[in-house]
Structures are given as structure tokens and as C-alpha cells.
């Protein structure tokens, strides 16, 4: 024993008591590290649901921009959206350097872009490029599709458009939904909303086509927010106009871009043929979602009075249906 101690001087100084104390300390350290790891472990990942009482959707509007609307006419979406934004002062009035922009598209269906049942991919790509060009730190694109999200993003062309223009896609994973209650809402009460997609976002832009809708009469800017709702949301079709009003008070966007280059005038919201479309050559960009929908109604051959959700949203304070009161900027791209 003594001989081995000479070969290993450190061991020679450790007696039984010393060994037990050191072992206990090592065990405690390991246990503390494991406990800390367990405490910090996030089993769900980013977007973890939080208590419903502690969440509220941010107000993404830009107060200094005020209520504005631009109506650009022409058959080229790239030209009309640029012309409309320019009329409003440029994208820089709404997206600043470092902003994290969330774009809510209509990717409800796994249908080809030609049917205009979903957001036009070229329009999405252009708006993404404009946001990044204005200095946005990130642009994310999302929708809680009605059909399988992966196939919707792929077949609608939205997935490729987002990637090619530098945007991230947020696929509506279960973990991104949080049950929330919207004050003043009739139906969004303790109901799952795609809350995780808003995390970190500083600006929100909605981009959607103008469509006929079998139940609500029209699917436009306000109805587009339906894609933030989770759960068995089809039950809200029973009182769709009130529900769209709820959506309008839940979301306070930076901008809405309502694409009426082609309007789906029949068999909406899915359509099924280009014969359901009418070329209406109009792009509406507005900070007031109610005003945008009031303009869009005419593209479907309707008046705001034909669409009860417009009056309901106006009464709830989400905007004005009297878009002329906003002194619309009207531009033509020739």
C-alpha cells in the first residue's frame, strides 16, 4: 500500500472520509445540473403556449401613417402594388430598418395559382422583396390552411415564392396555437389562435385575393384573418358575419393588400375554374381593412350593404366603410 502511494502521490493523501465527501459533492453537482437542465428544458420549442390570461395580439398599425387607401388599376400585379404603395408614401412609411415582418397570405387551398383561390405568389414575392429592401430584418409568411399546409404552400406556389424572395415560411404547427380571448369579441373567447407566428413580429401585412364566398358573400381582407384561427373553426360559419367582425377587431394590421387583378365572382371560395374569375384589374392597399373591403365589394358586383360583416366591423371600430372619406389615392399603371 505504501509502495503504491509513492507511485500515485495524490491518491496517497485521500482517505476514506475524503473520498466520500468528494463523491457526495460530485453527486450533488450532477444532480443540480440535471435539475437545472430539466427546469430549462422546453419540450415544445419556440412558440410554446402561454396562459390565455397573459396574452394579447399586438397592434401592428403605424399611428403616424394614419388611415390611408390607394387604389391602383392595371393588369400587372407588380406594377399596381408598387404604384399603390408609392401613392401611400412608399413601403418605407410602414416598414423600417430592423422590422420583423409577418405576412398573412391566403394559402387556404392546395390549388394552382391560376384559380386565384389563394394569394398570388408573384405578388407575395414582390412585397417580400420590398420589405427586405426597406430594411426589414426578417419576413415570415404564414397561414393556417384549410387543406394540408404543406401541400397548400407547395401547390399554390406560395412556398417557392416565399423562399425565392427571402421569406421564411411558418407552417402552422400545433405548438404555435394558444387559446386567447379577444375583448369585445362574440366568438373568439378562449379559442386557439396562431399566436406563436406573431412572436417577435413588429409589422403585419395581409395579402389576399378578392373572392366570392358561398357563406359570407365575399372573402377579402378581414376574412383573410380566418387563417389565424385554429380548432374546429368551421362552426363559426353559422354566424360568419359576426365572426369576421371578431377577426377585424382581433387584428390591427400595418397594411392590407387586396388583390383584385382577377376577382373570383362565382363558386367561391374554392372556385374550380378560370371561368369563375373576372379580370377586374384593381389592387387595393390600405391601412384600413374595412375600407379596403368596401372597395373590394364593388369588384364582386356588390355594395358594402350587401356584406353585413362590413357594417359590423365598422360599428366595432375596426375601420370605415366610407372609403371616400379617406380621400383614396387613385393611380393607373396604364
Amino acid at each position: 500500500m505504501r509502495k503504491r502511494s509513492k507511485d500515485h502521490p495524490l491518491q496517497s493523501e485521500m482517505d476514506r472520509r475524503d473520498f466520500l465527501i468528494r463523491s457526495a459533492k460530485a453527486g450533488l453537482t450532477l444532480g443540480a445540473a440535471a435539475a437545472l437542465g430539466y427546469f430549462l428544458y422546453d419540450p415544445v420549442g419556440p412558440g410554446i403556449p402561454v396562459e390565455k390570461s397573459s396574452v394579447a395580439l399586438p397592434d401592428f398599425s403605424v399611428p403616424e401613417a394614419g388611415k390611408k387607401i390607394a387604389i391602383a388599376t392595371g393588369d400587372d400585379r407588380i406594377k399596381t402594388v408598387n404604384a399603390a404603395l408609392k401613392a401611400l408614401g412608399g413601403i418605407e412609411c410602414f416598414v423600417k430598418k430592423g422590422d420583423r415582418v409577418l405576412i398573412k397570405v391566403n394559402a387556404a387551398f392546395a390549388t394552382p395559382p391560376s384559380l386565384c383561390a389563394t394569394t398570388n405568389p408573384e405578388l407575395l414575392a414582390e412585397v417580400t422583396r420590398l420589405c427586405l429592401g426597406a430594411g426589414a430584418a426578417t419576413v415570415a409568411v404564414t397561414d393556417n390552411s384549410i387543406n394540408n399546409p404543406e401541400s397548400c404552400f407547395a401547390l399554390s406556389g406560395i412556398g417557392d415564392a416565399a423562399r425565392s424572395s427571402g421569406a421564411h415560411l411558418i407552417v402552422p404547427a400545433e405548438s404555435l396555437f394558444t387559446s386567447i380571448t379577444v375583448p369585445g369579441s362574440n366568438f373568439i373567447r378562449n379559442w386557439p389562435v396562431l399566436f406563436g407566428a406573431f412572436k417577435g413580429a413588429t409589422k403585419l401585412i395581409g395579402i389576399c385575393p378578392v373572392k366570392d364566398h358561398h357563406r359570407s358573400g365575399a372573402s377579402m381582407s378581414m376574412k383573410n384573418w380566418y387563417g389565424f384561427i385554429g380548432g374546429r373553426r368551421n362552426i363559426f360559419h353559422q354566424d360568419i358575419h359576426t365572426f369576421i367582425k371578431d377577426l377585424a377587431i382581433m387584428i390591427k394590421p400595418t397594411l392590407v393588400i387586396l388583390d383584385g387583378t382577377f376577382a373570383m365572382i362565382s363558386n367561391g371560395p374554392t372556385g374550380g375554374s378560370v371561368s369563375d374569375l373576372k379580370q377586374t384589374n384593381t389592387m387595393i392597399v390600405s391601412t384600413d381593412q374595412v375600407a379596403a373591403d368596401a372597395v373590394g365589394a364593388a369588384l364582386l358586383g356588390k355594395t358594402p350593404a350587401d356584406l353585413p360583416f362590413i357594417a359590423k366591423a365598422e360599428q366595432a371600430g375596426a375601420g370605415t366603410s366610407d372609403f371616400e372619406a379617406l380621400s383614396p389615392f387613385r393611380v393607373s399603371t396604364g
Binding site: M14, R17, L40, P46, L115, N147, A154, P172, S266, S273
Partner: protein
């Protein structure tokens, strides 16, 4: 117990600090939202869901017998019942659910030599031929051309629509150059089932002169915005510029037909209409209403409830209504 040396203490503190820094880094990293985290499924080429729903993988799925040689399945068939139909067609589900919907089967197919050229087949099982004709007819596209399939069918430049027996079919293409494939697929689908030659309905009682046969539609519920009005055939008469919409519905009894005519008349008055009084040329058992700037003739004859709807010209409204009345009179004898 041996006291630890300075070197040991320094090394221990360094390791603990390093561990604390790593823990802090992990904590901060996982609290920062990364949208890319949720797009992984789309970025990975090998992801099953992505491939299944977007690109054809020849040979990986069973091929249905009705599929033309030039097409391959893009993925498995999907089916929807009354509880899940809105997961596929959203707000349009109500149209089908109110018309006896049983089941929807859908599947996408792509060109064997060009995977980006694809189409989707929808087969709606509607329970009976009347229901199937209803959903077929009320969605009929204006810019369409009739298709000779031996059943009720039409096509647009990017889609085929037809009904055979209790089933309603839609073939919707992503490209306008798939007409040949759509035609072959439609023919195969019709050939795969016994051809339904139609049954005699009250629609055959629309007087044929100046009738646009392709305009005949069957509305199953909430017809003309009146909740009590269901199972009504409509048809158009005359040229496009002076169209007259006629309607016809067979009820369970003559009493029901008369009662429905009265109720519909009250509905018109409640919604801004007024009785136009005795109108020369109006058919017997009828009332003429003026609703804003249009005319509405409402009549009943035996078990039939019929008339004309929202007609600009009083003369045209009463003329077509009178012809319908005479036809019903002949049928009743």
C-alpha cells in the same frame, strides 16, 4: 481532508462558469423565435408529406383503372364525410350538405412526362341523382361548352364538370394544356359506371319554346332567399339581353302548392314588393307582384308551384308564366 490548491480551484470555477454560460446560451437561443424551425418540412426534399402532396412519384401509389396512360397519381386518395367536408372546400360545403352529401373522394394526378402539369379529381357522392344534378346545375359556369359524354356534362378551358347517377364529378387542372387528359379521364369515369340516362322530373314541364335547356338548375334550399322554398327548378328563356327566369316545383299536394304560393307572396311583400292587382294576360291561379323595378308572377296548379322571377318586363313575365300554366294544365289532365 486535503485542501484544494489554487490551480484546482481556478479550473473548477472556470468549468462551472463555462457550464453556466452554455446553459444561459441554450436558454436564450430557445427563447428566440426562428421561423425557419417551422419550415423544415417544406425544405427537406425527402419529406414524405411534401412529396406526397406535390410531386408525383410513379409506381409508389396504386393506379386506379380509370386513369389514362399519360397520368400518374401524385398521392393517395383523400376522403371527406359530412363532418370534414369543410376541411377541403371550406364555405362551399354548405351547398353540398344541404343537398344530401354523403362522401367526397379526391385525388391528384400528374402527367407522366411533366410532373408540373397536374389535375385534381373530385368525386362527390350525393346519395341520389336529383341531389347530384342539383350541385352540378347550380354551379354551372357561364363561359362553358357542352361535352358529349352521354351524361350531363360541360367543360371550361381548365376544367370538366359532369354528373352520372348519384355522383357529381369535377376535374380541375393546374394548366390549360391538359384538356386531352381531362377528356380521357372523364370518358373513362363515365364508362366505369352504368350510364345514367336520366329520370323524368318536373323540369321536363318547362315549355320548350325559347328555353335555354343548359340553364335548367335545381335549387335545394333557401331558394330566392325564402327559407320555406326548397327543391325548385329554374330555367332561362329568351335572349341574354332580355332573360326571363322561370321556376317550377312539384309539391306533395295541391294544398301545399297553394299554401307555398301564398307564403312566398307574403315574403315578397315583406321585402319591399307589392301586389300589382289584376293584370291582363296573367294566368289563372296567379298573383303578380312588383318588387322594386321587377315583376314576379307566382302561380299554383295542382301539385305544382311555379312562376317567373325578377323579370324586367311585365309582358314577358306574364307570357312565360302563362305558357307554364298551360303546360301544367295539360300535364294534369
Amino acid at each position: 481532508m486535503r485542501r484544494t490548491g489554487i490551480a484546482e480551484t481556478c479550473i473548477g470555477i472556470f468549468i462551472l462558469a463555462l457550464l453556466a454560460a452554455i446553459a444561459g446560451g441554450v436558454y436564450i437561443a430557445q427563447s428566440i423565435f426562428d421561423p425557419g424551425f417551422y419550415s423544415v418540412a417544406l425544405q427537406k426534399e425527402g419529406n414524405g408529406a411534401y412529396r406526397k402532396n406535390s410531386l408525383p412519384s410513379p409506381g409508389s401509389e396504386p393506379t386506379p383503372a380509370f386513369l389514362p396512360e399519360t397520368l400518374v397519381p401524385m398521392g393517395p386518395e383523400e376522403t371527406f364525410d359530412s363532418g370534414t367536408l369543410s376541411d377541403k372546400i371550406d364555405g362551399k360545403a354548405d351547398l353540398y350538405l344541404s343537398s344530401g352529401f354523403v362522401k367526397l373522394s379526391t385525388r391528384r394526378f400528374a402527367r407522366r412526362d411533366d410532373p408540373k402539369s397536374w389535375l385534381e379529381l373530385f368525386i362527390y357522392q350525393m346519395g341520389d341523382p336529383t341531389n347530384a344534378f342539383s350541385v352540378y346545375s347550380v354551379q354551372k359556369r357561364k363561359d362553358s361548352r357542352p361535352v358529349e359524354l352521354g351524361v350531363s356534362a360541360y367543360a371550361t378551358e381548365d376544367a370538366f364538370f359532369f354528373t352520372n347517377g348519384p355522383d357529381y364529378f369535377e376535374i380541375v387542372s393546374a394548366n390549360k394544356d391538359l384538356a386531352e387528359e381531362m377528356s380521357s379521364l372523364a370518358k373513362n369515369l363515365v364508362a366505369a359506371e352504368p350510364k345514367y340516362t336520366g329520370q323524368r322530373t318536373e323540369a321536363s314541364l318547362f315549355p320548350p319554346e325559347s328555353l335555354d335547356e343548359s340553364s335548367i338548375s335545381l335549387h335545394m334550399s333557401d331558394v330566392f332567399g325564402f327559407s320555406a322554398l326548397d327543391r325548385v327548378y329554374t330555367a332561362s328563356y329568351g335572349p341574354e339581353a332580355a332573360r326571363v327566369t322561370a321556376f317550377l316545383s312539384q309539391r306533395e299536394s295541391a294544398e301545399e302548392a297553394a299554401g307555398l304560393a301564398d307564403a312566398y307572396g307574403r315574403f315578397l311583400i315583406e321585402n319591399g314588393g307589392e301586389e300589382a292587382g289584376a293584370i291582363p294576360g296573367a294566368p289563372p291561379d296567379s298573383k303578380v307582384y312588383k318588387v322594386f323595378d321587377t315583376y314576379e308572377v307566382v302561380l299554383h296548379r295542382g301539385k305544382f308551384f311555379a312562376g317567373t322571377h325578377e323579370v324586367d318586363s311585365l309582358e314577358s313575365a306574364t307570357d312565360i308564366a302563362s305558357r307554364i300554366y298551360r303546360k301544367l294544365d295539360e300535364a294534369g289532365r
